[in-house]
Symmetry: C2
Subunit: 667 residues, 2 copies
């Protein structure tokens, strides 16, 4: 048996092991009890809402996927179409199961916090999150390695990656619009107009709002990293094809080692002694990284790989960590920038906005230079292939990263459920402590995801270049001074901007619809304000769902449409420039929106903790406006969909390159 | 006598003619009477404040220029240093005289509106603005053609252009910080804390605020176009050197024709019959463009230039117009986008911000694609030289463009003076009508300036490339997939963002200082609140001035410092990528900030005109917050300094390229 098959089989084995452990943890979480009847009720309502969303979303996505699948079958090949479908389904299943377990874990975490204390509650929440982490890496690597093991062709994986990415894009953009629609509408009518507290069960939008946290945060981040993870492996394998079999399988080996390291990390995490959940999460990440670094070094030597590949790999790992910590530094509640933004709130909302936005602009430098330096080092060591390898390594430990990230919304929900079902002050403060630990890991993950996406798309640009070269038999460069490349760059620059803008405007439009519905219910359903009748939760969930899916279609189609226009009118050089422009603009806007948004969010919290007059002060009012601007920035239009958008566009470019060249010849 | 000398002499003659006519109009405006004693007093106070600002600014700039001049003399050549100084002085003189005449014209416009009616008032305001227009193009072309006539070397002009740009950068960034400092502080203490009306003479900051309009708007836009104008001509001449003498002098010929066309346009403008001042301004621009298009066609044929150069020239002219009108479309008070933003204000300030920002992001596409298409057509016709020619042609009619733009702040000031000196309702409504016409031309100019800067910096990137090729004897490409180029691109992307951010934060810092001073005066100067004592206007002017100059130094030095770091650490490829990144990011942010800012501004005005509850409504309050965010976006940190920043960085790159190459060889 040759090296390709052996590596593919090992990768399949490791990834299935990860899936099995994920399912084991799924059941492990499920075995824990659900507390009172009240808690069961709330949990059940959220679950129903989430199911309604998922059902609707997946039906629409199924139709859409079949349409693309048909196009691929006609214009490319049947095997492409099949690979695309498998990619879409894997990404969908990972998101689905991840959400399911989150919905189980939140009530159980609250119950454990009440009955068994911090240690157990933490473990349930974290392991709930781990299900998502292990399934994402397991299903992704399984898909890649099975398809590769059967076809032994790396190109076909581009379609698999495209399937995963397009599903991620919709899941995230849709989830993002959904979350903010529900959030804004529930607050605006409930808190502001009717004057009932947040999360009050009389509010028809309350369940939609709770569902949103899971749809946006759990499924969103999982999908984001799923698609980068797959894309980086695929880019490295395609680029490796010209370098020989050993290079094609290296990404599979690195990913397998990464999964095993993540498993070690995940099962090592628990709170002991000093009971600091934040440190426990960080420790898990350190353990995973250390094992990964060491194990890849040993394996490189055993399999007699040149150590320069290991060097490229480490460049990625270090860059990921640096970018993650930079993000944390800029958005952390006890650092200079957040405090300054909070201070600026004393001079009114406009100054809050200007200050946070300015700091957001300043925060770009370390992260973007970090991506540039990492890709430069990787390139110096092993060419464009090195860039792809550094991306793979950065993402290899993603099993652990997602686990601590998905922990966040679970404890957040657990806190909400504890409050709504009237648990004791002590329990609530305990869930509060769990929640605070989630916020830091969330900021780090966001930076990590942007960095990984950056390296991945640069590798995908190289993949596109190599594919064009392979088809035409001539090497191709994308010179800035080629006016077609420049036209492409300028156009590419606009597309992520346009996409973000349309998504944000979509939230407003959708919120208007939902606000009308909430007002209608309060007017027409008798006894609702008094709490004697139950509102029609399902109708609100339905409106948020339909609207979200509607609002994401146009920007997605326009973005892909512009890509096709540039490709077929401008040709391969314009398309290369276009990808470059989209990558630069995507990274720029994702980082800016994530970091400004994070700063506004935490500066509001800083004031709520008592600074500058605390809750209810003028500074607080200004900070709330900042936070309301920041929410769609960071959670809807910013990093999450933009990372995936640029991946999707890069994959589209690689996939259509044969057609573009053919068209240019016939024209 | 050869063609170089003849062309240079003609250009000198035409530009001196423009300067002489400018001085004639300066005196023409001065001959008109100043109305009442009260008006004279107000005018005098503004003039004093402006003088204080200018004196301080020019002293600091003189020191700074001498420092750079010394560096150039040491590292490059004495002639470079001299050319630099001449550039700096020309730019400075044009700004100085433009402001002087604006300060004369504003009182005289108000007087004429009172005593002679619309026609005369319009003419005084417009001709006051024309002084700036004619001096800018006259002094710029005179400098270029005299230096070229003496040295017959195009390279030396890069230093001249650098001098003009660095002075423009400081004038604009400094003026921008000054204006907003005064504006915010005057409003915050005066209107909000003390409760006196805007422009109340008891407010110690009122004169600083009035001075700011002139410093920021008149001198700012003039300086912006001065530096692009010079840079485009210089880029075209340097690129023309490899193509022969005929190509080197073509930019001088085009610029000369442009000046004569502008003169025809300027002297044709007057309000007749239907008395629509907006149409009169537009008509002037159309006349200028038509004459320019026709005259260049005829001259191309007479001098037997290939008509493809005329084609490149027209691509620039058309692109400028398209971008100008796009800007107007997105920011005009009676269009969809502004109305929508105003409507969104009903849901609170956060939604106002999100909506305006989203539309700003959407507005990028037509303008950036426009720049891309224009440069593509120009390139297809005559290579990189064509791009420079299209930039020259776009800017050739700038004499007329600046004239209608500088008209804006003059009538704005005239309106203010009419109100403060208690002229009749009829006169005020007449100045209002004059003012409204200024706003449209202002939006168009802003778009025009960004478009021109875009084409110019692309041409400067080509200049840099050509200089490197000339020195090393090898052609050089900036391939997106070269990791040094990519590192450069990513770093370049951050610099305009960092610069904008620091300028915006500088405004806040400076405003805090000034607010403290205003509060002190109200507390310590007896009889101030009652209006029996005069406040210390000069102290406020002094604080705004010193602070503005202080706050602009750091971002400017950091931006140039990063350029040098990239150049000497990364080498010529990284520097090329860096310029590319800075250009893309500069255009992106300039357009975004200009258009969002314009939208917020006009949507506030739309509400003040009575929509959605009008003045004092909740929508109005939200719109005011939007406008307060938008003001520094569009007037301080956005297009004006960014256009010049990217020009400065491009010129720095071209100038230091011999040193960078030398350093790389020795390293």
């Amino acid at each position: 048996m040759n090296m390709e098959l052996i590596s593919a089989l090992i990768a399949v084995a490791v990834s299935l092991f990860s899936v099995i452990l994920g399912i084991y943890l799924f059941r492990w979480v499920g075995r824990y009890p659900v507390g009172s009847e009240r808690m069961r009720e709330i949990g059940e309502a959220i679950r129903e809402g989430a199911d309604a969303f998922l059902k609707k979303e997946y039906v629409i996505l199924a139709f859409f996927s079949i349409a693309i699948c048909t196009l691929l079958a006609i214009f490319l090949s049947i095997s492409s179409a099949i690979a695309f479908l498998i990619g879409a389904i894997s990404s969908g299943v990972a998101g689905l199961l991840g959400m399911k377990v989150a919905l189980k874990a939140n009530v159980r975490t609250a119950t454990a916090a009440d009955r068994e204390g911090l240690e157990k509650a933490f473990l349930i929440a974290f392991r709930g999150g781990s299900v998502m982490g292990l399934l994402v890496v397991g299903l992704a690597l399984a898909g890649v390695s099975v398809i590769y093991g059967i076809t032994l062709k790396a190109e076909i994986l581009l379609s698999f990656s495209f399937g995963a990415s397009i599903l991620s894009l919709f899941a995230k953009a849709g989830g993002g619009i959904y979350t903010k629609t529900a959030d804004i509408s529930a607050d605006l009518v409930g808190k502001v107009e009717i004057g009932i507290p947040e999360d009050d069960p009389r509010n028809p939008a309350v369940i939609a709002d709770n569902v949103g946290d899971n749809v946006g945060d759990v499924a969103g981040m999982g999908a984001d990293l799923f698609d980068s993870y797959v894309a980086s492996i695929v880019a490295a394998m395609v680029l490796g094809e010209t370098l020989g079999v050993k290079m094609v399988v290296l990404p599979l080996i690195l990913a397998s080692v990464g999964i095993l390291s993540s498993l070690a990390g995940v099962f090592s995490v628990r709170v002991r002694g000093e009971k600091n959940p934040g440190r426990a999460l960080d420790l898990g990440t350190y353990i995973t990284s250390a094992i990964f670094a060491l194990a890849t070094l040993v394996i490189s030597m055993v399999l007699s790989y040149d150590l320069k590949f290991w060097g490229a790999s480490m460049a990625g790992l270090v860059a990921g960590t640096v970018i993650g910590f930079t993000t944390d530094y800029f958005t952390s509640i006890d650092r200079h920038f957040v405090k300054r933004t909070a201070k600026a709130s004393q001079s009114g909302a406009a100054i809050t906005i200007l200050t946070g936005y300015s700091y957001g602009l300043m925060s770009l430098l370390p992260s973007l230079v970090g991506i540039g330096v990492a890709s430069g080092i990787a390139f110096a060591l092993c060419g464009v292939y090195g860039i792809a390898i550094s991306a793979v390594s950065m993402l290899a430990i993603v099993g652990m990263i997602i686990s601590s990230d998905a922990y966040g919304p679970i404890v957040d929900n657990a806190k909400g459920i504890s409050e709504q079902s009237g648990l004791s002050e002590k329990v609530i403060s305990l869930t509060d402590k769990l929640d605070a630990a989630g916020n830091t890991s969330k900021a780090i993950t966001k930076g990590f995801a942007i960095g990984a996406a950056g390296l991945t798309v640069i590798a995908l640009l190289a993949t596109y270049q190599e594919r064009v070269a392979a088809i035409t038999g001539q090497s191709i460069t994308f010179d800035l001074m080629n006016p077609l490349v420049m036209l492409g760059l300028l156009t590419g620059l606009c597309v992520p901007a346009l996409f973000s803008a349309m998504i944000m405007l979509g939230v407003s439009k959708n919120a208007f619809r939902m606000i009308a519905e909430i007002r209608r219910q309060f007017k027409e359903i008798k006894g609702l304000s008094e709490g004697t009748t139950r509102p029609d939760y399902a109708r609100c969930v339905e409106i948020a769902t339909t609207g979200a899916l509607k609002e994401l279609m146009l920007p997605s189609l326009i973005s892909i449409g512009i890509t096709l226009l540039i490709a077929f009118i401008g040709g391969i050089h314009a398309l290369g420039g276009f990808l470059g422009g989209a990558i630069l603009s995507g990274l720029f806007n994702a980082l800016l929106m994530a970091n400004s948004g994070g700063m506004w969010d935490n500066s509001k919290k800083y004031i709520e903790d008592g600074a500058f007059g605390g809750k209810g002060s003028d500074a607080h009012k200004a900070a709330i406006i900042g936070d309301t601007v920041g929410d769609p920035f960071k959670d809807t239009a910013g990093p999450s969909p933009l990372n995936t958008l640029i991946t999707v566009l890069s994959l589209v470019a690689s996939l259509i390159s044969p057609l573009v060249i053919l068209y240019a010849v016939f024209k």
